[in-house]
């Protein structure tokens, strides 16, 4: 008899847990690229609820996708006039923002997706602190006000490169994003921005040429497609990796046929 009660209790628990996991507003749901927002990178309680920022993985310099959820009186809600302002306060006293590609409400995930490029990391490759990233969120939820500053840690990755344009001496930031590199043809995004004061503006009029190379073997690969501009400084192309290992994508930038700079992106998988 006691086994029957025990089994019944487990059954009820399972049913209950099943009800909970059927909630469509969990951030563990996957985005349209099949990736899960499973890591909480920032969370703060408020008088009326909670704000949390999720990511697919540890945040690293370069392109990232975030999910911001706002729970108001137990419900995931939208925020009127939402402002999302990341800021890096550098050790030397200077500060700057970071470019945001897009921000939109995801009804399925009941949160805001933010796609952005972290132009630098909190720590250097050697582990020295270079500054502090924060995210300032503002907006209104009914009668309540959202005004929070959340600290964010971004780790080093060699996915963002900078160069000075040979034409106008502007500082150009380029970030490479390959979602899941594998052998064969890979789609990739290249984000290109110009630094203006402490902000970043999209650069939309470049011709870009890429040449992948495997330095340890001294060979490249054929059938690559140079990236072309899609929107707001985002360029899309294809790169062909003929084997796993350490690759370098040599990237050259041209404006009106004039070579303005080049950077190298290492890719290892």
């Amino acid at each position: 008899m006691k086994y029957t009660i025990f089994l019944l209790a487990i059954f009820v628990l399972l049913i209950q847990s099943g009800c909970e996991t059927s909630n469509p507003t969990t951030p563990d749901d996957q985005n349209d690229q099949g990736q899960s927002f499973s890591l909480v990178v920032a969370r703060q309680q408020t008088a009326w609820g909670e704000v949390a920022i999720y990511a697919h993985d540890t945040l690293r310099a370069g392109y990232a996708e975030l999910l911001i959820t706002v729970k108001h009186n137990g419900q995931y809600v939208q925020v009127s006039n939402l402002q999302f302002e990341p800021e890096m306060a550098m050790q030397g006293g200077m500060s700057h923002s970071t470019p945001i590609d897009t921000l939109f409400w995801d009804a399925q995930l009941q949160g805001y997706q933010v796609h952005l490029v972290w132009v630098m990391a909190t720590y250097s490759p050697g582990g020295d602190k270079m500054g502090d990233w924060t995210v300032h969120l503002t907006g209104t939820i009914g009668q309540d006000t959202l005004d929070l500053t959340l600290p964010i840690e971004v780790y080093y990755a060699e996915r963002v490169k900078a160069f000075i344009s040979a034409l106008d001496s502007a500082k150009i930031i380029a970030a490479l994003h390959i979602s899941n590199p594998e052998v064969g043809l890979n789609d990739f995004d290249l984000f290109v921005y110009r630094k203006v004061m402490h902000r970043f503006e999209p650069v939309t009029d470049l011709s870009i040429e890429i040449e992948p190379e495997m330095p340890s073997m001294g060979h490249g690969s054929p059938n690559n497609q140079n990236p072309v501009h899609i929107r707001k400084g985002r360029y899309q192309g294809k790169v062909n990796f003929t084997m796993t290992g350490d690759w370098v994508i040599h990237t050259a930038f041209y404006r009106d046929g004039v070579h303005i700079g080049k950077v190298d992106f290492p890719v290892t998988f």
């Binding site: 043809l185 060979h219 084997m243 290992g245």
Partner: protein
């Protein structure tokens, strides 16, 4: 010996029981080789000049026949043997005919069975078999085969200049798929000469390829109870090779077994002039269990398992070596042979399988980037073969299904870098179904007309999405599934046109199933021309017309045989350069397999064998090949004029033998395939032996007596051949009869 050579046949058994001749009788033929006492399959038996059937793999044929008169003219013919015929009187309801054929020293054969057996006969095969040195040595004497050496252990046979992509390997009727992308594991690697009965080179019934090289191990025999143990030990100085062979054989009236094994170990060898060829050593085990059982008068079961394990095999001609190379092979056959039916003479059902695991690496080499290249192949299948006599015409029909699996990959280890992986043969499965039919239609008393047709269909599927993606990244989109079919058909005529003149003519049209390297090979580096090779999934099947003719003139004390063959290839598959970056360090570029129009080649050979004096025999074979593509480029692997000769003097129990091999300089080379001109050479071997007892002998020889530095035209990257090699072989056999 003279009597043996001079006579055409020996009849061992005669008429047994007695009945009237007006009734139907059974004629039971047992045909064997007079020298080896082994069965002769494929011999055409006739009664009163009408062919009644062909002997099976055990040399047997049983037919029902209604004699119209008491005297019957019985005859047996088999290319490579002297024809036999005899007049017998019917005195019972069963006529037992046991025929021992004497080999007619052809150096050439054409239709199905190769010249190997006959060539071996030229060297007094029973003694040469007692002191074997390598499979390559035997194969090199075949008129249509050259050996491409990449290492000391075993070379790749080239059949009429065609490499392994264009023909199929079988051992004991089991297809064996090499697992190395660099041809480091041709199937002759897995066969030791002590366990070999025959090598058949077929240009028809070749499994969807242009040819088939079939290594047939010697079979256990059934007979009076007997057990035999054989042991052999050899040593060669040029690479300090030790070779040990042991064999246990048992036979009873209904059961036969052979269990044998060979161990070989060799260090690096020295080429002529003293150059050390490093690395070229190896270690190797080969073992076999082979059994046969007569389950009932109609049913016979036979099975064979062969294992071969090679380790640390140096390939001096290549940038990599073999860490291990393993074969496992098995074949189980059930034979049904009805005694009283005339249309179905024999049915054989077999199930078979083989697997090869090969591991190539370069850890013995000083290279900036080390590599591992494992490869695996599997074959599993079944075959049904029916031998029948329909309307008096012996006919063979066979159908076979096999499932194949192939995969090879490479991992590179650069210093301070992430290991790099890529497929070299994407994981591929292939189902192949084939049907073949062949008849033997007698043409009066002159000869036999042999039509043949074969159809093979294959469904190929690439298995892994990541490997498909990497290949598509290079060659564009293609379907990972591919349906192929290949059919071949042809005719052959063979017979005697004069008393001492035998001739044959064979004409074939063939298509072949494409090789995985040609379809899906991924950056396969070929060190001879220095290019990376890419497959081409859109390749069209290669086809050819094949013509072969031979004529032989045989007298009591000698034979001369001339042969000519020609191939006309269509959609000829060759690699040509494409403009994409190479991958291998030091590679000159990338080539991709393409259909390169047409091509032709032509081969000639002239062979002779003479008994000059009693006990003094001499033989030779002269051969040459040439070929060209439609764009004027020469075909690769074409043999220049090459002469091999042997003189043997055998005043028993001693013998002494001198062998010579010489070739003219090879200037018509395919530079586009990485070939370079080869100088001519002349090499001499000498061997002496003493047969102490009937079952024991010792042989002492010196190969490459003058320590010549040379290589053959086909040797990969002009790999120098071994220099002077002093070798000794001791062999003994113990035989015990049991009651």
């Amino acid at each position: 010996m003279m009597q043996k050579v001079g006579m055409i046949i020996t009849v061992f058994s005669v008429v047994l029981s007695v009945t009237t001749s007006a009734q139907q009788i059974s004629i039971v033929w047992q045909v064997q080789d007079v020298e080896t006492q082994r069965p002769v399959p494929g011999a055409i038996c006739s009664v009163d000049s009408i062919a009644v059937g062909v002997t099976d793999s055990h040399g047997k044929l049983i037919v029902r026949y209604t004699p119209r008169r008491p005297q019957l003219l019985l005859a047996v013919r088999k290319l490579g043997y002297r024809p036999w015929q005899s007049q017998v009187t019917v005195t019972g309801d069963t006529l037992w005919v046991s025929v021992s054929l004497v080999s007619q020293p052809l150096l050439l054969q054409n239709i199905v069975i190769s010249s190997y057996r006959s060539a071996r006969e030229q060297y007094e095969q029973n003694l040469l078999r007692l002191s074997p040195r390598s499979i390559d040595q035997y194969l090199a004497f075949l008129p249509q085969i050259s050996i491409q050496r990449r290492a000391a252990m075993a070379g790749e046979p080239l059949v009429q200049g065609m490499g392994m992509k264009r023909y199929e390997f079988r051992i004991a009727d089991v297809p064996v798929l090499p697992a190395c992308t660099d041809h480091m594991d041709p199937a002759n690697t897995y066969v030791e000469p002590e366990a070999l009965q025959n090598v058949a080179v077929q240009f028809a019934q070749s499994g969807g390829e242009f040819a088939m090289v079939h290594f047939i191990p010697d079979s256990p025999r059934m007979g009076p109870k007997q057990t035999m143990w054989t042991g052999q030990l050899s040593y060669g100085s040029v690479n300090r090779e030790v070779r040990a062979y042991v064999r246990s054989q048992y036979q009873s009236p209904t059961l036969g077994f052979i269990v044998d094994g060979t161990y070989r170990r060799a260090a690096n060898y020295r080429a002529g002039g003293g150059e050390l060829i490093d690395p070229s050593g190896f270690r190797k085990w080969n073992y076999r269990i082979h059994g046969i059982a007569q389950l009932s008068p109609q049913f016979r079961l036979s099975g064979v398992f062969i294992g071969d394990d090679g380790y640390d095999i140096g390939f001096a001609a290549l940038p990599m070596d073999t860490r291990y190379d393993r074969l496992r092979l098995g074949n189980l056959a059930l034979q049904y042979k009805p005694v009283h039916q005339t249309w179905l003479r024999e049915a054989v059902f077999q199930v078979f399988g083989s697997r090869v695991d090969h591991y190539m690496d370069d850890w013995k080499r000083q290279v900036p980037v080390h590599m591992d290249m494992p490869g695996h192949t599997r074959v599993l299948g079944g075959k049904l073969t029916l031998h029948s006599t329909i309307a008096g015409i012996p006919t063979k029909v066979a159908t076979e299904y096999r499932s194949e699996y192939v995969h090879a990959e490479m991992v590179m280890y650069a210093p301070d870098a992430t290991p790099m992986w890529m497929p070299t043969w994407p994981e591929m499965s292939r189902s192949v179904w084939s049907v073949v039919g062949q008849s033997y239609v007698p043409i009066a008393s002159w000869g036999t007309f042999i039509p043949h047709v074969e159809i093979s269909v294959a469904q190929t599927r690439l298995q892994r999405a990541d490997e498909i993606a990497v290949l598509q990244g290079l060659v564009g989109d293609f379907s990972p599934e591919r349906f192929q079919y290949a059919w071949s058909g042809g005719i052959a005529l063979e017979g005697k046109i004069l008393e001492a003149v035998e001739t044959s003519l064979q004409l074939l049209y063939q298509q072949r199933l494409l090789h995985q390297s040609e379809l899906y090979g991924f950056y396969l580096f070929q060190s001879q021309d220095g290019y990376d090779y890419l497959g081409n999934p859109r390749l069209q099947p290669e086809q050819r017309w094949y013509l072969n003719a031979h004529v032989s003139y045989a007298r009591k004390n000698g034979t001369v045989v001339a042969m000519i063959y020609g191939n006309w290839f269509m959609q000829y598959v060759a690699a040509s350069r494409i403009d994409i970056p190479p991958m291998t360090i030091g590679s000159k570029g990338v080539k991709q397999y393409r259909n390169a129009g047409t091509a032709w080649n032509l081969g000639l050979s002239l062979a002779g064998w003479f008994e000059v004096l009693s006990g003094l025999t001499t033989g030779c074979i002269l051969k040459a090949e040439t070929g060209q593509r439609s764009d004027g480029l020469p075909l690769p692997a074409m043999s220049p004029w090459t002469l091999r000769t042997v003189v043997r003097y055998q005043p028993k129990p001693w013998w002494i033998e001198v062998q010579g091999e010489m070739a003219v300089a090879n200037r018509q080379v395919a530079r586009w395939a990485g070939e370079t001109p080869d100088p001519g050479y002349m090499v001499w071997d000498v061997e002496a032996g003493w047969q102490m007892l009937r079952e024991m002998y010792v042989a002492l020889g010196v190969a490459n007596v003058f320590d010549q530095q040379y290589h053959r035209f086909s040797d990969w990257n002009d790999l120098p051949a071994p220099g002077r090699n002093v070798y000794v072989t001791v062999r003994g056999r113990v035989q015990m009869s049991m009651q």
